[in-house]
Symmetry: C2
């Protein structure tokens, strides 16, 4: 029934906060690196919102990240000698430990692809860094729009020539799954309770009766391959 | 200098003729299967030409292949019980023996991706069948146009956020390389002298001073990784 699995990436597959903070600590000594990473990430949704709402044409997330970096540097009174290189931290995010083996197990029976707001370029380089064995790269660049707009999920299904009912979205974020379900896709929730650090309060548990709920990708593979 | 390699697939990576003929022999007993495969393939370029020239909007190659199948069945006075399944022969083409090991060697140092006229869906399923370890899928679907239009090469470079001079096109067809060079890409020629069967007369040798010329992907990897 489910022929392809498409995945949120930032938070669901990779630890953006720890990885970005590590890069910030190297590039901007003296800055509170986890706070800087949180502030950089907090600019993510507002930057996409203008594009989702039509106030700006589609611009790849790589460019939005760089614009946001300048804004956050100003706020932290930090001077970045090489912002282009620091921006590439988003291409070198480390995976959660279950992700690479879990994806390899999931790939034996189904097509696997990211459905992220990251560009094809970003997702391609991140996959090489993190060892994510995707069959292809789907998501925002395919739709030229940003999640949670339904067009992104639907364009990803259409690129695979599959009806949404044969595609399952895997995410650590209830909001992503609400949007995927509204577009007709299956849903799998894999919580990542430390994505936002030790004090995380959001997305600790499921907000709806998602089709599958698993603590990690290895268990998800056992549930799906059973 | 060269950061990504993009590949023609039909003929360059996979033996479409032998693989399609095998599927035809199974589905249409009594038909001259190699001749049918040749006739099916001969419809390929005229079908794309209307789209390249603007006389028809972009339609994925999967759909063009199916239209062409009906046309060729008529010409061969063949009745196909399940054309949709036979059309999927294009997703199950076998690679030339050097392709999978050669791509794995090439992938250690550079991004590798198909730049084919096949759709993302077709290329994804073909990669799973043939063991082609692509980093991402580029080509016609990304550009919504067909090679050798420059937009297809340029959209593939843009999706990787690389200038054309940092991308090399690998193909068994001189025409593909002429178009890639005109768009600013590097060029590598890997002849496939039996793509069209034992009597092949085209593309047996290079028609220009391509940047690299190699007899197979393993040698290409040695040249590039040296």
């Amino acid at each position: 029934m489910i022929k392809a699995l498409i995945f949120d990436v930032f938070g669901t597959c990779v630890d953006w906060r720890g990885s970005v903070a590590r890069a910030v600590a190297g590039a901007l000594p003296g800055v509170d690196a986890p706070a800087f990473a949180d502030a950089w990430r907090a600019e993510y949704d507002p930057a996409m919102a203008r594009i989702r709402e039509g106030g700006r044409g589609y611009i790849a997330l790589d460019d939005l990240h760089l614009e946001n970096l300048f804004r956050v540097c100003d706020r932290f009174h930090a001077t970045c000698a090489d912002p282009e290189t620091l921006n590439r931290a988003w291409e070198r995010l480390d995976p959660w430990p279950d992700v690479a083996p879990g994806l390899r197990a999931l790939k034996t029976h189904r097509i696997i692809a990211p459905c992220s707001n990251g560009s094809i370029a970003l997702m391609t380089r991140l996959a090489r860094h993190a060892g994510l064995p995707w069959d292809c790269i789907l998501g925002a660049d395919i739709a030229r729009d940003y999640k949670p707009k339904p067009a992104v999920y639907l364009a990803s299904c259409a690129a695979l020539r599959l009806p949404p009912a044969q595609v399952m979205m895997v995410a650590a974020h209830n909001g992503d799954l609400h949007a995927a379900r509204a577009a007709g896709l299956g849903t799998a929730f894999v919580p990542r309770p430390t994505e936002h650090g030790p004090g995380q309060t959001s997305d600790l548990t499921q907000e709806a009766d998602w089709d599958l709920i698993a603590p990690d990708f290895n268990v998800l593979a056992r549930l799906l391959n059973a």
